[in-house]
């Protein structure tokens, strides 16, 4: 398979608050490929969104990317650029044209004080060096593309005048304004009702086919993953505990947490935003993350002492990676031995 457009290596993002340090992202690795969708899944507060923001270098204070690499393969080939170390000015040229973001809660993600046209063209004017009129034309075109009816009229309306579904479409149009190569969709559908969800997902898939977009789809909804993703990264407490192609993950989940998640795929009729109830216990507080394997207090297949004392190292097999002593890595034991 071709080189990834974007590969994240051992990413660390931390928040230094009055109460102490929160390791929101604590050593995440994954690759994103052209024309493919990477699904990042996990319970809320596991660091999904922070990962996304880290990639774009827009983590709010007091958060900072503390370590790791975010390697972006430039358009014309050549050695990959590490976004983690890129200066702000250069980073601004990445946001929009290279990597774009689609957000949850489209209502909140728009300013209510400007027309959607204004908010879309802004990026175009900034990055694509088009004139006002041309930019407007393109904006209308985009709106049309994402399936906004009467785009030439809608363009002068304000976000609060649109329905939720339309808003999300406009959001996507805005993200695509400068032909990004990577689109990060952070819970793009959680705020929407089921039917609209479906429409938006179709739209994304459709766009991906048309433009060979690489999509990072962040969600807590295994259903959405199943529908959309080619590859999956399962995150728990700031770590990717398991990564791999979607079928493998679904058919042969290796990490107990993944299994737990799969057991809890909500039915299509389920209300959005429902927590994943069937995993016993709740996510521990970020300050006191458990020693050893962070998941052990909730783990149904715990091996015993080792899980509580040692952190399981990444174990690679074929295209997959998992962090769990069930699959080896127990200190002292010969590699590869199955208990």
């Amino acid at each position: 398979m071709a080189d990834p457009i974007l590969s994240v290596r051992d990413l660390h993002t931390q928040f230094h608050g009055r109460e102490g340090i929160v390791r929101a992202v604590d050593g995440v690795d994954f690759d994103v490929f052209e024309g493919r969708t990477l699904g990042v899944v996990g319970e809320s507060g596991c660091g999904k969104s922070v990962t996304a923001r880290s990639i774009l270098g827009i983590v709010d204070r007091p958060g900072r990317v503390m370590g790791g690499q975010i390697l972006l393969r430039p358009q014309g080939g050549g050695p990959p650029v590490d976004l983690a170390t890129l200066p702000q000015a250069a980073m601004r040229r990445i946001r929009g044209p290279e990597i774009a973001l689609v957000f949850q809660e489209p209502m909140a993600s728009f300013s209510q004080h400007y027309t959607i046209g204004n908010q879309i063209t802004e990026a175009i004017l900034l990055h694509m060096g088009l004139g006002k009129r041309a930019a407007r034309a393109r904006a209308i075109e985009l709106l049309d593309m994402v399936g906004v009816p009467q785009p030439d009229r809608r363009i002068d309306e304000y976000p609060f005048q649109l329905s939720g579904g339309l808003r999300q479409r406009v959001m996507i149009a805005m993200a695509l304004a400068c032909d990004p190569r990577v689109l990060i969709a952070d819970e793009p559908t959680t705020a929407l009702d089921v039917t609209t969800q479906a429409q938006i997902l179709d739209l994304l898939r459709d766009l991906q086919q048309k433009r060979g977009l690489a999509i990072i789809l962040i969600t807590h909804d295994m259903g959405v993953i199943a529908e959309m993703a080619h590859d999956v990264a399962v995150m728990y407490l700031g770590r990717a505990v398991e990564t791999g192609p979607v079928q493998d993950i679904f058919n042969r989940p290796r990490h107990p947490y993944t299994r737990a998640l799969l057991r809890s795929i909500p039915t299509v009729m389920a209300r959005p935003r429902t927590r994943l109830p069937t995993i016993e216990g709740s996510i521990p507080h970020p300050f006191d993350r458990p020693r050893g394997c962070a998941y052990h207090p909730r783990c149904s297949e715990k091996l015993g002492a080792v899980c509580e004392t040692h952190e399981p190292p990444p174990i690679d097999t074929e295209h997959r990676q998992v962090r769990c002593f069930l699959h080896g890595g127990i200190p002292g034991a010969p590699p590869g031995t199955q208990p």
Partner: protein, 329 residues
């Protein structure tokens, strides 16, 4: 949108009406009807009033009839611009007030502009640079601004200017100019005298607005649309000025609606301390001398001024917040 304006306007009218009632009450407050007072005053100054004359005056003002009738007579004369005669000045009230009302308005408005001019940038600064030295400095300054009542500030400034220049800071014109009719020279003279009192007047309001602006902006900065904007690759300044600041403006604007009455009130007091030729000193003198038509009229005019100010700032608010503008679409 139209509906919004209309509703505001009607509310304004209602307020004006209430204020007119308040003013009328104030006129009625002193014991005995004011013709008695009028007669007593003239008697005291050695000019007696004959019974027939007193009756004429009573009829003229509908005294002895029920209050609402008197109010009716009064208000109907007021709307025709006849506010009655000032006992002390022996002239129509309107003439006595003359320029003063405009000077009051001017002073308050100047203060309003200063308040905006200062509060906006400072508020943004201390929100964006939260907990920075500058932030703390301005916050402290703001609190002092709130804590020092403006008449006190005026007093202190008067003291220092006396110590330093030995001259009076009072007045809005230099003594030669007071006599002159309006001219560019006089306007310029006024422009030179205006800033000091205006700043004194503005300080308290500024302090409050800075706090409001800061708080609002801090909220707005946390909103997702800021992230969206950043994700577009806009420069930080652009992001902040275009989005959160714009959003923070509207509570700001709506607050101004209450700032204006506050300033008008303030102008009354500092005018008295600094001896400015606004309606302030006139009002206090009139009240002390129970020159009730004058006093009532001033209260009424100030009230109306504030209502108009409030109405205007409502329109401003509407302009900055499209949601209100499109409410009715």
């Amino acid at each position: 949108m139209i509906a919004f304006v209309v509703r505001r306007f009607l509310l304004g009218l209602f307020t004006v009406w209430l204020i007119s009632v308040a003013s009328f009450t104030i006129i009625q407050l002193p014991p005995g009807d004011f013709v008695d007072a009028y007669i007593a005053q003239l008697a005291a100054s050695g000019s007696p009033v004959s019974a027939t004359e007193a009756d004429m005056l009573r009829k003229l003002y509908g005294l002895g009839q029920p209050m609402y009738v008197q109010y009716g007579k009064w208000i109907s004369r007021v709307v025709t611009g006849d506010f009655g005669e000032s006992m002390e000045w022996r002239r129509p009230v309107t003439e006595v007030i003359g320029d003063r009302i405009w000077l009051t308005l001017l002073l308050s408005f100047a203060a309003l502009l200063i308040t905006w001019g200062l509060a906006l940038p400072i508020g943004i600064y201390s929100a964006v640079r939260q907990y920075s030295f500058g932030d703390y400095a301005f916050t402290l300054l703001g609190f002092v601004g709130i804590a020092v009542p403006n008449f006190l500030l005026a007093l202190i400034i008067m003291y220092f200017s006396f110590k330093l220049f030995g001259a009076n800071v009072g007045g809005l014109f230099s003594s030669e100019m007071t006599i002159q009719p309006w001219s560019w020279a006089k306007a310029w003279d006024l422009a030179k005298h205006l800033p000091l009192p205006a700043v004194i007047l503005a300080l308290a309001g500024t302090a409050q607005l800075i706090r409001i602006m800061r708080a609002n902006l801090l909220d707005e900065l946390r909103k997702p649309y800021v992230v969206t904007a950043r994700a577009k690759g806009l420069s930080e300044t652009r992001v902040i000025l275009k989005y959160p600041v714009r959003a923070a403006l509207n509570p700001f604007a709506s607050n101004i609606a209450y700032l204006f009455p506050f300033l008008v009130s303030g102008s009354v007091i500092i005018s008295i301390v600094l001896g400015l030729p606004t309606v302030g000193p006139l009002l206090v003198k009139a009240l002390v001398a129970q020159d009730m038509f004058l006093a009532g009229t001033i209260v009424l005019l100030l009230g109306v001024m504030t209502v108009v100010g409030t109405f205007i700032s409502d329109l401003v608010l509407m302009w900055v917040d499209p949601r209100i503008r499109h409410q009715m679409d």
